[in-house]
Symmetry: C2
Subunit: 125 residues, 2 copies
DNA sequence: TTGGCTGTATTATACGACTAGTACAGTTGC
DNA sequence: GCAACTGTACTAGTCGTATAATACAGCCAA
């Protein structure tokens, strides 16, 4: 059963997107595996203190991307393979890096400064 | 007059926040200086193809942070000094770095991999 | 078999972001 | 002075996110 212990809703990002990203990043990290059972919509929503419909929206999108399998009455399970994971990793990384480089460049930060900042703040907090 | 030529609304971030960040990052980069005139609400909204109220919301928040000065009838101007800029730089950098490190860590990326990714993708696009 | 769980669907409500339109007071340049 | 600009304020409406409550059909273990 996939654990959401490390999941903490934050920023202003829609909750359903945060759930989506949490699952995808777990799949990339290898902490979430093919066949793993997801918590039920009701259980997870109670756990996170949010509405079941919000969880359902996230799970529905995961199913639309063929990353989970659902059938009425039974728990949903992860549906992963190497190809999907490689693609997920590329997509997520590309967007993260694109976002940070654009942001830092707008502030006039150089590549060398950016690297130094990452090295310095990586292990904080 | 501050130019918004490089401003391109994107992601799902609220437009008024994107305008806010554009100004703040420009101040940090030194491309926007103390005393600089801002385009009028109406002109900027027409330029960006958005509603004047959205621009007003961003400008209002900048004034609440004492980063611009506005008076009825006259154009708004930037209100900066070294102390404010240092603080802006720290706040913006901290949030950017926090965001990217958290995201990459959730994907199981190490510090060394993160640095390599930044170095590799910095000059792309 | 049966009761409690599962996924799925529907309706209604609330709020923030954004748009549209209008109005009014004050500045600026000719 | 006056016309054209400026900032500010307000109402009304749409859309996406999130909540709340309810309902139904299918799985599964005791």
């Amino acid at each position: 059963m996939i654990s959401f212990d490390t999941f903490k809703p934050g920023d202003g990002t829609p909750i359903y997107l945060q759930i989506l990203l949490f699952i995808k990043r777990g799949a990339v990290a290898g902490t979430i595996l093919d066949g793993d059972e997801l918590p039920s919509r009701r259980v997870l929503s109670a756990l996170l203190g949010i509405n079941p419909n919000t969880v359902q929206k996230a799970f529905r999108m995961l199913e639309d991307e063929d990353l989970i399998e659902s059938q009425t009455g039974a728990k949903s399970t992860m549906k992963l393979n190497d190809e999907k994971i490689v693609k997920l990793r590329e997509d997520l990384l590309r967007e993260d890096i694109r976002s940070i480089t654009e942001s830092l460049r707008q502030m006039g930060i150089t590549r060398e400064e950016a690297v130094r900042l990452i090295e310095r703040f990586w292990d904080e907090e």
